[in-house]
Subunit: 343 residues, 4 copies
């Protein structure tokens, strides 16, 4: 059994990790920490977990975490980067769901997060945990930086096009929308049901923190710099991300459908839908799955890709478990066979 | 492997059965029928099931169904009662999710469903599939009538009180509310998002078809006739039933909390919450679970029970699988270990 | 023009008052106060009001308020009771939307609100602002205590039955449900979209602060003490209250439908629906209206009343404007002709 | 009083017209027709209108309609084009909310709607009812073709940029999202709450019928052909359209904010939000208003415009009333002073 620790188990990615790991036969959750809820039973906070865990939130002490084989950080940014060096030194591997190790460049990180990075020397070592792109490096990694939710949906959508050099990369457009759970389990007026339900809006139009991560990832696929206009929107629902991607085709392409199907043929968690079928967020709800469609409307040279994930699963906790499975040489779908909850 | 047939696989209880059976290691779905969708791939209609089943909807022929070990009817009423006799004669066992065999009295059935019953001789043999009440009879049954969604929530809530004879049975009150999926996957204006969302209403106040089923079941528990005022309401959401039950206590009771906990201590799918914690439908979403709470507000002699289930799981398809597991001597939670999807 | 002041304009009853008063031709909003948003433009906080008001939130100074003809308190409890005496002394009339003056008994108030009342001598003078019951006293009132949202729906539903002495009053049942806007515009985790949407639950089962108000009001109608079991629930939507009321009929009644229609025939804001039509919250959304239905299911002696209002309109700000209109001898529907927003 | 007739009053644009006209002091609704609901009281179908109209749905006879001063067609396409010639001949003016007269080219119309146009000779006379563009022609029009919902949001968003020739018109992008009410009050499985709620998807990606209307309108503004990639999405809510528009700036622009504010300074129903404030659909819910924001993210030469309307008001019935007011020389906001319902 792999001994797992979870830092920051009171948020939505925390409870989702616990839901997934409850069906993971190779894992034992040994410690779950929370400063705010220290001493409280886990299933008191999350009654859906009653009967599954006999755990109490504990203070985040490094030594109990270091006794784990792997530690997940399900925290806001700025937590992992202070603790990870100590854990790695103790031989514990880390899967970080936060933004702390996603960008390779410390200055870039600082410009978006407004503070110095606490362990910039690890930015080079951290592996970006998008298995469909970096599976080999993840196997050996001590430290995996799980992609953000929007970046997962956007990168999986553009990847086949960029790897083949088919699109003009100076003005990519990503119009994406997320359920409110992406904003976390925090008491903010903007995310009240009375504010966010029954409405739709764009936000962070001038620059969202996922933009540099998206551009770094897409640049790697392309082999050069890419320029993305990224507009996120807030959906009046809990789970799900839908990215609608637009690009100008740089050259004629025979069959984009076949290209996408071939690229993802061996990927267990990416599903290219049949031609002219478009994805819905509800068909991946609760599942570790990205569903994709590609089209060229009216054959006018602009390609449109639609990409959906559950932001808490393939966009966060499911992808984290997928990375752990790869790191520990387990079948990649262990604990990840949940089926989308439809309706 | 148990060979399973499903009649009427295009509705919500059908797709939910398929979701649950996808993780059931002892089962193979051999046939799924639909007149309307005959010839269409299952996963074309329900893209959440892509990769899990290589099945096409077929015509409902009795011989292919009779080749199954067990057949589920996930149909509206008035289908099963015409086909079940033939299946039973062929040695196939049946789990009927519809209302056809829930009432023991054919005349009563006819008065609520407006037609004659097609196989009234089976009404006496059919076992009412509420495992928490009838587990022993279900083991041996050839034909199990799965309880309705409201009746499941209402009966599990009143059962400890009635079995102990604690409440006045001449004026029980059940104020219950269901998500719209309870109305099925049918094109009706009333169930459009534009009609049913962002609103709440009572319906069928003069008499809902679940009323005689509720009164039959509660009467069995009490050992006499009970009289229920049952008012169902429509919730602006997809899944979940919440029943709020009211009764006058006929005698002083020391500890209702302890009574409820004791009654359900050995039940894998009924969970009595700690005192003063009230259930939410979201904590059982997607799970085969009933969560209960009991209270006597202001200590005034009126007991209130709150009971939640997912109408498509413990209220339909999950309970059907639970019944099948009992019928085939499998661990009762096989295929039913899904955790509630929260948030 | 009536000069109006609003204390606490940043909550949902505040913005709703402003929406209604924007179409009230006899009123000028002279001052709107908020400690937290002092100095901020009103329409910066509430962009739906752009172009309608050229106002900035100000500090709540008594002298600017005292220069108004009438002041609305759209505050949590414990604000009005500290300021109202000074305003009344200055000759300003007050419509209090909070709970401070709803209960006549100071000890009762203290037992539910956990503190001493700051101006208990005014409890006797304050008129309970349910126009359908107290229109004459409201005309002359200096201080009107607007009913709570649940109490409005529950009282209008029970009133015809109680005034005629038709029901047993020792065990009335009120199972009610409210949209989340009833919880106000406050940053609480429980009211996040990710927590409250797509779910349904009971709360405050042991005792909600609206219970003593309901029992006081119903007792006045009955002329004796009444005993209510009141269970509120939280609906996954923004606006609307639905109360489902149950009572045992104490004597045979010829025609409850006619009784209800007669009782409310002259009431501009109470609408008794035709027999066997049940109200929906959406048909009163945004409107100052209560819609009612009455039934005796299966003719078994238990009467069921369904009562819907928009909690922010007839349950709060609309009723407040209605009270003001009565106090100032204006046509009662001035500023209140909004039609329910359907769909 | 202007005598108004409404053809097709049972859909959402019909009931919305009636809601708005209820507060229009210069109008009397003389006839409302529906084949399906002939003989039924209007307020039986739409209980929000109780007390406002004493009308019954009638058969759509041309002579009773011809007795009106103006007739609104709130019908699907293919109805108005068969009746309008007769009404115009009788001197009745027409405001058509359907698609029948929006395109000037009959062949283009036929290619998108799959049938011949029944009165193609009127296509040249019909005035496209976007008041912000065509107010003068609307004044004199006998026949006004009201813009579609998406086209209204998209055109008002691009208009200032196109009129000034600031953007490259060969690859405009419109990523738009609509509430489900846009699909009308029709019994379709896709629009059930259980299907459309809690999810998000693109649809009609290869070509939506609003595309030729958008391109015709934008082409008029630009003075040349424009090429738009238009991807509509379905929002899990009732009302509201949000269009997110992307274009490459063809030349440097000093101040887009000032340009937008100047363009719409005199428009009563278009509201340019302050810089860095982005519109939400909820702030225009129920109001005849378009709110706009413009930004150039990261100053990279791609302009983003966000445009919101209520699809049933400024996107349909409100704009229809606005057009009628212009045609009859009434103050343009008569009957259109509703304030957005927030929250």
């Amino acid at each position: 059994m792999i001994r797992v620790g979870i830092v920051g188990g009171t948020g939505y990615t925390g409870v989702e990790l616990l839901r997934l790991l409850a069906s993971h036969e190779q894992v034992e959750v040994a410690a779950i920490t929370s400063r705010a809820e220290c001493g409280r039973r886990l299933d008191d906070l999350f009654p859906n977990l009653r009967g599954l865990y006999d755990l109490v939130f504990s203070e985040p002490h490094a030594d109990s975490l270091a006794a784990c084989d792997v530690v997940f950080f399900a925290t806001p940014h700025n937590v992992a980067m202070n603790t990870v060096p100590e854990l790695l030194a103790a031989g514990t591997r880390v899967v970080d769901l936060s933004a702390d190790y996603r960008l390779r460049d410390a200055a870039n990180w600082s410009s978006w997060y407004g503070e110095d990075h606490a362990s910039p020397d690890l930015l080079g070592e951290a592996v970006y945990g998008l298995p469909e792109r970096n599976r080999q490096q993840i196997k050996e990694a001590r430290l995996v930086a799980c992609p953000g939710c929007y970046p997962t949906a956007v990168q999986l959508g553009f990847m086949p096009l960029l790897e083949e050099g088919l699109i003009e990369t100076d003005s990519l457009i990503a119009s994406a929308a997320s359920g409110v759970s992406g904003a976390g389990r925090q008491a903010k007026i903007d995310n009240l049901l009375s504010e966010a339900s029954d409405s739709f809006k764009a936000y962070a139009v001038q620059g969202h923190r996922h933009l540099p991560e998206i551009e770094q990832g897409l640049g790697d696929m392309d082999g050069g710099a890419v320029n993305v206009t990224f507009v996120p929107h807030l959906l009046p629902m809990v789970r799900g991300i839908h990215a609608t991607l637009f690009a100008r085709l740089g050259k004629p392409v025979a069959d984009l459908q076949a290209l996408f199907e071939a690229r993802y043929a061996d990927e267990p968690f990416v599903d290219v839908l049949p031609a002219e079928v478009y994805p819905q967020t509800r068909t991946v709800k609760g599942a570790n799955r990205c569903q994709l469609a590609v089209a060229v409307p009216q054959d006018r040279g602009t390609v449109v890709v639609m990409s959906v994930i559950d932001n808490l699963v393939k966009g966060a906790s499911g992808q984290a478990v997928q990375n752990m499975n790869i790191m520990f040489d387990l079948p990649e779908d262990t604990g990840l066979r949940q089926v989308g909850l439809l309706p």
